[in-house]
């Protein structure tokens, strides 16, 4: 696994004010895999993935210690440009949050702020991203329409396409299906499997079937601690920790 490590988290601790949300998290995540982060509400799943693109900093009173190496570079180093980091580590949120702009302008937003102005290049990026997010066929004739006119499932795939537009290397998905119906969920799950060919995907999920379906590796967090981490099959079939076992058999959570 060593040569294939994309993300290396060491002794990660996060506080919000007095609240110690993540405690001594240490784990390595492999390139081009899907890793599911599971655990009951409030266990720190979302805080964990938001530590990977330093989004926790936007919350007043947050404090982070420890190191996270991405491709061998500590993203909590003083020299790290957090805006460049977020370009490399894309994020999709729990609730679809398209900008109140056209479908085209949503996808073109990030390329534009990162300096791409040529209309032809933008057109190509929009098409590629929408195809990658399996949305192109549904919206190709209405790129000028407002993104808010799309259905919830389409909006979420649009948000994925928007994140893919700047070719991130890592994609963080924060319960991307929690606001979607089963058929939209199935589409997004198929998409996640496909994305792992080119991206390192980390998905927070509440839904254990979903974790089992989409992920290669799974991490189980409980009360801010990493309880168990390993191959998804192993975690589901042969959990080592009694808490993990209780959680995946639905005894709590």
């Amino acid at each position: 696994m060593i040569g294939n490590v994309k993300i290396d988290v060491r002794d990660l601790n996060v506080w919000f004010g007095q609240n110690h949300v993540l405690k001594d998290i240490t784990l390595k995540i492999k390139r081009n895999t899907v890793t599911a982060v599971m655990g009951p509400s409030g266990c720190g799943k979302t805080t964990f993935i938001r530590a990977l693109n330093r989004m926790n900093e936007l919350i007043e009173g947050s404090r982070t210690t420890g190191e996270i190496y991405i491709d061998g570079k500590n993203i909590y180093d003083k020299e790290t440009d957090v805006y460049e980091l977020r370009k490399k580590v894309g994020m999709v949120f729990q609730k679809p949050n398209p900008f109140p702009k056209s479908i085209f302008d949503n996808i073109a937003f990030a390329p534009r702020i990162h300096g791409i102005t040529d209309p032809k290049t933008l057109q190509e990026i929009v098409e590629r991203s929408l195809k990658e997010a399996a949305l192109w066929n549904e919206v190709k004739d209405r790129l000028k329409d407002s993104a808010l006119d799309l259905s919830g499932g389409q909006q979420q795939r649009l948000c994925i396409a928007r994140a893919l537009a700047i070719k991130p290397e890592i994609l963080l998905l924060d319960e991307p299906c929690s606001a979607l119906d089963p058929s939209a969920t199935a589409k997004v799950e198929t998409l996640i499997r496909k994305l792992a060919e080119n991206y390192t995907v980390i998905i927070v999920t509440h839904n254990m079937q979903q974790a089992a379906r989409v992920s290669d590796y799974a991490a189980f967090l409980y009360a801010g601690k990493l309880i168990e981490y390993g191959g998804t099959r192993q975690i589901f079939e042969n959990p080592q920790n009694v808490l993990t076992e209780k959680y995946i058999t639905g005894k709590f959570g």
Partner: protein
């Protein structure tokens, strides 16, 4: 038992009727104003052609030969309003963005009350500020500046309406969901890109509403222009000259420049009606835009 329930019920009845009366008085006043303007204007237009009134380029009701073309007054109002918006839009939007996106709590705690105090300053004070402070400065920069001029009044009026633009725009920006800011930050946007490319466009119709409502305030503003802009109705593009606005003209006549009931006197109804209709239309558009915005989220 019966008396116990009847007394509160009677009380309730009286209170309800009293409240209704209060509301009725405002509505009645509004119709009374409109009727007064209409009757005055109708009697004015029996002597002066309505076409001359709206197309004439000279306004000289107080000396011979009399001309009743409202365009110079309309232009005066428009010129001062444009200058005021030129000041208030950048200042107001700037402080709204500062307050909603940048300022930490301590800074907000200072700036918000200052803006609120500015709203409470009597307009006559703004008027003298324009005449005795801003105009002398303008005269240093542009020596040809008249004592009474549109620019000074416009600038100070702009400062006066800045808090309106900033407070309504800030409300609109604060209403932009946090999830949109996070989406932008998640894509590597910098703070100013989030503010200018996400928050401002998302709050656009709320911001436009704030500007339009401030504009209606500027059109109706009377004291500053009466004191500092002059009383010479003129179709000029030069803001350093004196002009006269519709409101300043009405003040001038109301203060006794023309004999009560004369044709000259009745001009204030036709000018007043014109002003009323403009402000009414602008307000209507502003409130419509504001409502449309608040429905969005």
């Amino acid at each position: 038992m019966e008396s116990c329930t009847n007394v509160p019920r009677a009380q309730e009845w009286i209170i309800e009727k009293l409240l209704f009366l209060c509301a009725l008085i405002s509505v009645f006043t509004m119709f009374a104003i409109l009727a007064m303007l209409l009757f005055g204007a109708i009697s004015f237009f029996q002597e002066v052609s309505i076409i001359e009134f709206f197309t004439g380029t000279k306004w000289t009701p107080l000396f011979k030969p009399q001309h009743f073309g409202i365009l110079p007054l309309l232009w005066g109002t428009l010129l001062v309003t444009i200058i005021a918006l030129g000041v208030a839009v950048p200042l107001g939007l700037g402080s709204a963005i500062l307050l909603s996106e940048y300022a930490p709590e301590q800074v907000r705690k200072i700036i918000k009350p200052v803006l609120e105090i500015m709203v409470g300053i009597p307009t006559v004070v703004y008027g003298y500020f324009a005449l005795t402070f801003v105009t002398p400065i303008l005269q240093v920069v542009f020596p040809e500046t008249s004592v009474f001029n549109a620019l000074s009044a416009g600038i100070v009026m702009g400062i006066m309406i800045t808090p309106m633009v900033s407070s309504l725009s800030e409300d609109a920006m604060l209403a932009v969901p946090q999830s949109l800011r996070e989406a932008a930050y998640g894509l590597g946007a910098r703070k100013h890109e989030v503010a200018l490319r996400v928050v401002l466009p998302s709050a656009f119709s709320g911001v436009v509403a704030s500007i339009i409502l401030a504009m209606s305030r500027a059109i109706g503003e009377t004291m500053i222009v009466s004191i500092a802009a002059g009383s010479t109705p003129k179709l000029t593009l030069n803001p350093l000259e004196g002009i006269q606005t519709m409101t300043a003209y009405i003040t001038q006549i109301s203060l006794g420049e023309a004999p009560f009931g004369s044709l000259e006197y009745r001009t204030i109804f036709s000018v007043g009606l014109t002003l009323f209709l403009i402000v009414f239309a602008v307000n209507l558009i502003g409130h419509w835009m504001a409502r449309r915005y608040w429905r969005q989220y």
